[in-house]
């Protein structure tokens, strides 16, 4: 029995810092009620920067995985990469939120604290190598988001969003927990390493895990829980209503951080934990059909959405579908080139790169929505953007850039994100042609609605309903955030190889030692 010590504390420094700064912000807000809101923003950003330092150090280091807290959490390059994705998403959200909170009259103390706690949950999820800690992280993340979704009290849409998200989320958590119980019942462990060892040893003891109904039912329930968090069809019904009803700053934040956190844990549990041919055949078949459905429904329904936030909600569903395609390439049993999974680590890196690009581009698009007003109200419809290019050319240009990235057109990061995913899909030993075709076709469908927004900004004539362009309400924080998002979107296109290479180095280490093929060596 090992007891947590200094080594553990150092390894989970990002978690400590995020939690510590969350409490600091709460106390500052409670004990100095007259403190200027700018200070709270600054302290929150300071916390995010502080938490990024250990993550960056980890990425720069050799990436030797560090298992801590009695094999509950693992500090490795993979954790650090996703930690940085969350922190980038969080920092951009904080910068975008400051003016929004002031304008909407929302209290910022608890808001920033909850934002930090959400990220704490996300980092715990990414670092988890035990199903129970995955659940713990999921709950820290979810409960904070339930509160944030209803943060603008007294609005019917907001209350409905929060209640819907909470009820369905609690239900999904129950599924997830039941799945954990069944997996434990079948394999005798909650640790994904031990589950893998169990599966690897099974054939020699005359057992066939692919036929173990208890195990498969457990995995299916885990899929439901994950599927809800990352919003894939058919677990997506909450998404449009919650995204529309929640404050826009929260929508922007949860659309990137909750999704990235879900995929972080999903990839590790599915990619590293259930390494058995028979089991993977089942998982990958189910995931491939879910991914296909998600891309189809997300993109097709987005086409007919007049509301801008709803359009972005369905587009976020579609993006979850794209990332799920990458997960299929990770778990498909004959996906890898050989033992050691060359293609598997490629596919995993593709999903990680995509999560990073999506974070930057999507937050940028939501940021533009938050900066614009019409008659003192938030803009709601795509048509509300009419005439933006003539009045605010820079903002329209930035929005176009973000939408091009989301649509996956060069030279933006989004293009390379999709390219890497397709590459992983094609690189499998037995590729799924229909999934590749569907991926390409639905991407083409998405051009229609993304470019529809661009058309509204640049080409549409003023109508009676929208005689002039929307007003601008932006502070410097917002300008910085939008500028950083735009630079990031372009930089990830120009420097795609570098970011992808970083992800690849991290995942390769995972499949060799940390995630550990061969199982028995550790």
């Amino acid at each position: 029995m090992t007891v947590p010590g200094l080594r553990d504390a150092v390894a989970i420094a990002p978690q400590f810092l995020l939690g510590g700064f969350a409490m600091l912000v709460l106390l500052l807000d409670a004990f100095f009620p007259r403190i200027h809101r700018r200070w709270l923003t600054a302290v929150t950003l300071l916390g995010l920067v502080a938490a990024s330092v250990p993550a960056i150090l980890e990425l720069r280091g050799k990436g030797e995985p560090d298992r801590v807290m009695q094999n509950m959490l693992q500090a490795d390059g993979y954790t650090a990469f996703f930690t940085l994705v969350f922190l980038i998403g969080g920092a951009l959200s904080v910068l975008l939120s400051a003016r929004y909170l002031e304008r909407e009259g929302m209290a910022e103390g608890e808001y920033y604290a909850l934002l930090l706690l959400t990220m704490l949950g996300a980092v715990v999820m990414a670092a988890s190598i035990n199903l129970l800690t995955v659940f713990l992280g999921l709950e820290i993340l979810s409960i904070s988001l339930y509160i944030l979704a209803g943060y603008r009290a007294g609005r019917d849409a907001g209350d409905e969003a929060a209640l819907k998200y909470f009820l369905l989320g609690a239900f999904a958590s129950a599924f997830f927990l039941y799945g954990i119980a069944l997996v434990y019942g079948a394999s005798g462990s909650l640790n994904i390493e031990e589950i893998r060892t169990f599966l690897a040893d099974a054939p020699s003891q005359g057992r066939e895990p692919g036929n173990n109904l208890v195990l498969l039912a457990g995995i299916a329930m885990l899929l439901v829980g994950f599927g809800f968090k990352v919003a894939v069809v058919p677990f997506h019904v909450w998404t449009p209503d919650v995204y529309e009803g929640a404050p826009t700053s929260v929508t922007a934040f949860m659309s990137v951080v909750a999704k990235a956190a879900g995929f972080a844990a999903f990839l590790r549990v599915m990619g590293v934990g259930f390494q058995d041919r028979g089991v993977q055949l089942h998982i990958s078949a189910v995931l491939a059909s879910i991914a296909a459905l998600t891309m189809l429904v997300g993109n097709v329904v987005a086409v007919v959405q007049p509301g801008l936030k709803r359009l972005l909600a369905y587009s976020s569903i579609a993006h979850a579908g794209y990332m799920l395609v990458g997960v299929v390439a990770v778990v498909r049993p004959d996906g890898g080139f050989a033992m050691g999974g060359g293609n598997q680590s490629q596919a995993m890196s593709a999903v990680m790169f995509y999560a990073l690009v999506y974070t930057v581009s999507n937050l940028g698009a939501f940021g533009v929505v938050m900066a614009l007003r019409r008659k003192g109200q938030e803009i709601r419809d795509v048509a509300d953007l009419t005439g933006l290019a003539a009045r605010h050319p820079w903002l329209a240009a930035a929005m176009t850039l973000f939408l091009l990235s989301l649509a996956g057109l060069p030279p933006t990061g989004g293009f390379f994100g999709k390219l890497f995913l397709l590459n992983a899909l094609v690189g499998m030993n037995t590729p799924l042609p229909w999934l590749i075709v569907l991926f390409a076709l639905t991407s083409v469908v998405s051009f229609y609605y993304y470019l529809g927004v661009v058309r509204a900004m640049y080409l549409d004539r003023p109508t009676e309903e929208h005689p002039e362009a929307p007003d601008l309400d932006m502070d410097w924080n917002m300008r910085i955030a939008l500028g950083l998002s735009a630079v990031g979107t372009v930089a990830l296109g120009l420097w795609a190889g570098g970011a992808f290479g970083l992800a690849e180095r991290v995942t390769a280490a995972m499949f060799q030692s940390g995630g550990g093929f061969p199982a028995a060596m550790r």
Binding site: V3, P4, G5, G19, M23, L26, L27, A30, F31, G185, A186, R207, N211, N212, L213, V214
Partner: protein
């Protein structure tokens, strides 16, 4: 499927539990004498005469107070096994770190209490 037989006893216990509870309720319903009087049918309020309906609005403060109480109630539940086991950890020379872990835990809860206090949760207006 090897693991299933392990669950057979669990299933048997579950079935027995369901049958037993249904049976007891059914028996009580059948065997109990019934002599209703107005006093018997009224709501039990520790001897007080009940007034009005129980379906009225409650002050939300009751809820927040109860929440604060439950938090510290549950804290005790966590501290108890820790306190019982601390001696063993000390004998293994891990006492300090285990002690510090509980200090961190309590500190986090105290920060929550301080926040609630400052926000006026504990004040009955």
């Amino acid at each position: 499927m090897p693991p299933l037989p392990d669950y057979v006893p669990v299933g048997i216990v579950a079935i027995i539990a369901v049958i037993f509870s249904v049976l007891v309720m059914w028996l009580a319903d059948r065997l109990s004498p019934r002599k209703p009087k107005p006093e018997k049918l009224s709501t039990y309020e520790c001897g007080e005469r009940p007034e009005g309906q129980a379906w009225s609005q409650f002050n939300v403060r009751f809820y927040i107070f109860a929440l604060m109480f439950v938090i510290f109630d549950v804290e005790t539940v966590f501290i108890f096994p820790w306190a019982v086991r601390l001696h063993w950890f000390r004998s293994m020379e891990m006492g300090l770190i285990i002690f510090l872990e509980m200090v961190i835990f309590i500190a986090v809860l105290l920060i929550g209490l301080a926040y609630a206090w400052k926000k006026g949760v504990l004040k009955w207006v």
